[in-house]
């Protein structure tokens, strides 16, 4: 565990409010009362609170506004509240609550500042702090950017502590014993004589007093749940088939919809013939929707079958028809002044250093990639004259609400989004096209709930992809040392594309994601430059687990590895020598230790590669060992070291780390989304295989706690995974593969 930190006493804007038979604790928005259906039983004038803790006759409810897409966010948020509230999170009720502006995510916006994570200067910290302001103003209740833990670490414990002290105060007033003589334990206030008063029975009294907001958070040594191996609260449900995902929700009287939209993304449907579909069993309606057509039927399978039977003529997609043409546009952007977007790393003088002599040059490429979570996109929507109800798994509930309000003409307060657990997302559920299709259909079926489920094929051909990217690398080695490193990265700007869709506005200025994961590394290379070039948006793009760092991690570390090889230096020792950041260097040293690193050669046909990436503030180093067998590359063992500051749950941390590494390696091995005739060619898992159990290596994972700030771990495992595999393949075979996926050039076992 990390060193003990003093949490300063601070007063959050957390207060309490009365509900029938109980009390809620949460964030005040005193001047902007918002309606909250969860609190529809609030008394007059008490509506201005967004809850984290609700206590009434039904017991204690912990409210977890960050969505769970598999990363364990519900458990973690509940455990943060419970740690201070003194209640076993496994016996409390859990609710994602209703979306509310006060659940804004301040930390997620910090990632967009033009300072690398290792920069802890007052200037950088101030700019980061100010990013919370637009997050609040824009009501950005977003789950993403590995930010649930850093955003909630203080906030959620504070809510728990304020609730606990207020319950104690209520007990003190009841008993005449002062608050400092009372203790709390497992949902009870305990008197000095051992008498126990349950939180539930104290709730009404707690609601009638001023909340105790001057509280001090417990130190790490006092933690009961946090910092120790924890059990995820959703585990029993997920292992018994009883977890209800969005796709499992059933609403009374609902009908089932299928959609076929133009696979030329964003283009219109020119004509259709639904005469066969209309007469098929169970079909109730055929309905043109934006850029496509919907069938409403009495079950999912009949709706899908009918939509398959519609003969449709599509307009061509508004972008180059094939992958080759798309990449030609990206390549054109790289090193073109006209397309230059930003240069945030420019140490020394690269131009002069590379003016003459023996320069190294190479071109690297990463493909477009679908998210392809196991649960396909789905939503249930019911529209009436007065309101719109939406059941769906989403990372952006307030955007869904606002977009649905716009489409239905209803007041935002009359759109209710019931967020469901997600069967994966990897960023796909940062988009809401599928939900808005369901709203469009539901508007035509007023009064009836409509359940829309995308087929796997619809899902994978209508995704907002991880952008493909091209990087040109140059460098120079002098006297066995890397003297110059120059990386030019070209891709489309995904933040602008995404914000444009979400907010309907153009975002001016550079798009940091083009070079995130490469410019913000910290190595002592005398002439060190990273430049981002922006290609036009062609196929629609979005965030994919680890966002910009997913491609940049591969570019930066592959080029570095090649230069180190050229310098005839040891890949690990040289990275350690070059690394300027203490926390990062310790991560590299540790991965050397646990992997027993003694060079990249293991034995004939066996080799190991190391890679490093600092992303989302988490330095992550990976050593991968592979064997070049007669039938292809076999990944034998993978060693990973991360530093997230305090580790809240070692069990879930380990799962997120190997999950992230497998995700990164799986796509690097064999996945890409290519286009022909404006249409994504990989429409199901047979063509987008990923990793299967027999290919999975052994893992050893260590989390260090030298970092000062606590960080999230959902994404940082991804960026260094592809280069560590590529560097290992080079060590075992002598072949340097600069384009993903690797299986275009080498087989895997």
């Amino acid at each position: 565990m990390g060193r003990l930190r003093t949490i300063t006493r601070r007063t959050f804007l957390i207060g309490s409010a009365t509900i029938a038979g109980g009390v809620v604790f949460g964030t005040y928005l005193a001047k902007r009362p918002i309606k909250n259906p969860l609190l529809s039983d609030l008394q007059e004038g008490e509506g201005a609170i967004t809850p984290y803790v609700k206590i009434d006759a039904n017991g204690v409810t912990l409210i977890t506004p960050r969505a769970d897409k598999g990363q364990g966010a519900y458990s973690m948020q509940a455990q943060l509240i419970a740690e201070e509230l003194d209640i076993d999170p496994a016996i409390a009720n859990l609710s994602p609550g209703m979306p509310g502006p006060a659940y804004y995510n301040g930390v997620v916006m910090e990632e967009s500042v033009p300072f690398p994570a290792y920069d802890k200067s007052a200037m950088a910290e101030n700019v980061r702090k100010f990013m919370h302001v637009p997050a609040k103003l824009l009501a950005m209740q977003i789950t993403g950017g590995s930010s649930t833990v850093p955003d909630g670490f203080v906030k959620l414990r504070m809510a728990g502590a304020i609730a606990r002290e207020t319950l104690k105060e209520a007990a003190a007033l009841q008993s005449g014993i002062t608050r400092d003589q009372l203790k709390t334990e497992d949902g009870f206030v305990v008197m000095p004589d051992g008498t126990r008063l349950s939180y539930t029975e104290l709730a009404s009294d707690a609601a009638s007093i001023e909340p105790v907001t001057e509280v001090e958070l417990r130190s790490q040594s006092e933690w009961k749940y946090l910092g120790k191996p924890m059990q995820r609260i959703d585990m029993p449900a997920k292992c018994t088939g009883t977890e209800k995902y969005g796709i499992d929700v059933s609403v009374k009287g609902m009908v089932h919809a299928a959609v076929r939209a133009n696979p030329g993304l964003g283009a219109k449907m020119e004509s259709f013939d639904a005469s066969i579909a209309e007469s098929m069993r169970g079909v109730q309606k055929v309905l043109p929707v934006e850029n496509g057509i919907a069938v409403i039927a009495d079950n999912t399978w009949r709706a899908w079958r009918a939509v398959d039977a519609i003969d449709i003529k599509w307009a061509a997609g508004p972008y180059p028809a094939g992958t080759q043409e798309i990449f030609a546009e990206i390549e054109k952007a790289v090193n073109s002044e006209e397309h230059r977007d930003h240069r945030q790393r420019d140490d020394g003088d690269v131009t002069t250093a590379l003016e003459e002599g023996d320069n190294f040059e190479a071109v690297y490429k990463v493909p477009y990639l679908a998210h392809a979570p196991m649960e396909p996109m789905n939503a249930i929507v019911k529209v009436t004259d007065d309101q719109c109800e939406i059941w769906t798994g989403t990372q952006i509930p307030l955007f869904v609400r606002d977009h649905a309000a716009e489409m239905t003409g209803l007041d935002k307060d009359m759109v209710f989004v019931y967020v469901q657990p997600m069967g994966g997302s990897f960023g796909h559920k940062l988009e809401d096209t599928h939900v808005l299709q369901a709203v469009e259909i539901a508007k035509a079926m007023k009064g009836t709930a409509v359940k829309l489920v995308w087929s796997r094929e619809e899902d994978m051909t209508h995704d907002y992809l991880r952008p493909g990217a091209v990087a040109k690398g140059r460098g120079k080695v002098v006297d066995g040392k890397v003297e110059a490193f120059d990386l030019s990265v070209g891709q489309s700007g995904l933040m602008a594309d995404w914000f444009g869709r979400l907010m309907g506005m153009n975002i001016p200025g550079p798009d940091a994601t083009i070079t995130t994961g490469s410019w913000d590394q910290r190595f002592a290379i005398p002439n060190y430059r990273v430049t981002g070039y922006r290609a036009p948006v062609m196929v629609p793009i979005s965030s994919w687990r680890s966002v910009g760092a997913s491609g940049n991690g591969f570019f930066h570390d592959s080029l570095l590895d090649e230069l180190i090889h050229k310098a005839d230096a040891d890949p690990l020792a040289e990275r350690i020598r070059l690394c300027l950041d203490d926390t990062s260097r310790k991560v590299l040293e540790k991965v050397g230790e646990i992997s027993g690193w003694n060079g990249s050669f293991i034995s004939e046909n066996r080799g190991r590669g190391v890679a490093f990436c600092l992303s989302f503030g988490v330095p992550t180093a990976i050593v991968t060992e592979v064997t070049h067998t007669d039938v292809g590359i076999k990944i034998d063992r993978v060693f990973v070291v991360v530093d997230v500051g305090d580790v809240l749950d070692p069990i879930n941390l380990e799962a997120q780390v190997f999950g992230g590494v497998i995700f990164g390696m799986a796509h690097a091995m064999n996945c890409e989304t290519t286009f022909e005739n404006h249409t994504a060619q990989q429409d199901n898992y047979h063509a987008f295989e990923g990793m299967r159990l027999y290919q999975v290596p052994e893992f050893e994972i260590v989390a260090l706690s030298n970092a000062e700030k606590i960080r999230g771990i959902g994404e940082p495992g991804v960026p260094p995974s592809a280069p560590s595999l590529g560097n290992a393949i080079f060590a075992a075979t002598g072949r340097r593969i600069r384009e993903l996926p690797f299986n275009k050039q080498i087989d895997f076992v």
């Binding site: 897409k69 598999g70 990363q71 364990g72 059990q231 995820r232 959703d234 585990m235 029993p236 449900a237 997920k238 292992c239 018994t240 088939g241 009883t242 977890e243 209800k244 995902y245 796709i247 499992d248 059933s250 089932h256 069993r281 079950n299 999912t300 399978w301 392809a372 979570p373 196991m374 649960e375 396909p376 657990p421 997600m422 069967g423 994966g424 997302s425 489920v453 087929s455 796997r456 069990i651 799962a655 997120q656 190997f658 999950g659 992230g660 590494v661 497998i662 995700f663 799986a666 199901n684 898992y685 047979h686 990923g690 990793m691 299967r692 159990l693 027999y694 999975v696 052994e698 893992f699």
Partner: protein, 153 residues
Amino acid sequence: MEITVNDTSYTIDVEPEMPLLWVLRDELGITGPKYGCGIAQCGACTVHVNGYALRSCQLAVGDLGDSKVKTIEGLGAPDSLHFVQQAWIENQVAQCGYCQSGQIMQAASLLSTNPNPSDDQIDAAMSGNLCRCGTYPRIRTAVKAAAKKLQEV
């Protein structure tokens, strides 16, 4: 048409070519088996038919005859766990959990015919079940832990 699922018989009025998966999910409200791909590539829809693990998305309900279907709900419940489910929980396998019904049904089927599988046999039996979160290392551990439980009984 009559089918038997989790020891309960149901009368259904559907086309014989309707996949068992959609009969279970939409007609009977049994949502443990999941839709992932519809082409037997992911295994999220795995159920037992007469004790064998099969992909319910590829099984026409009309071909069932009097076969008995068991879904994850029939394997065990939160208060009466099957030993494979126990091993899964003890090893904290699930992340998003969407594929785990299928993984568990596949593992239960493997262990019912081969109570002490080798690593290669585990790989062979479980590699048709896709997990996009990458829970594989713990799936491997949990299958072995379940096999051990079986031997201790």
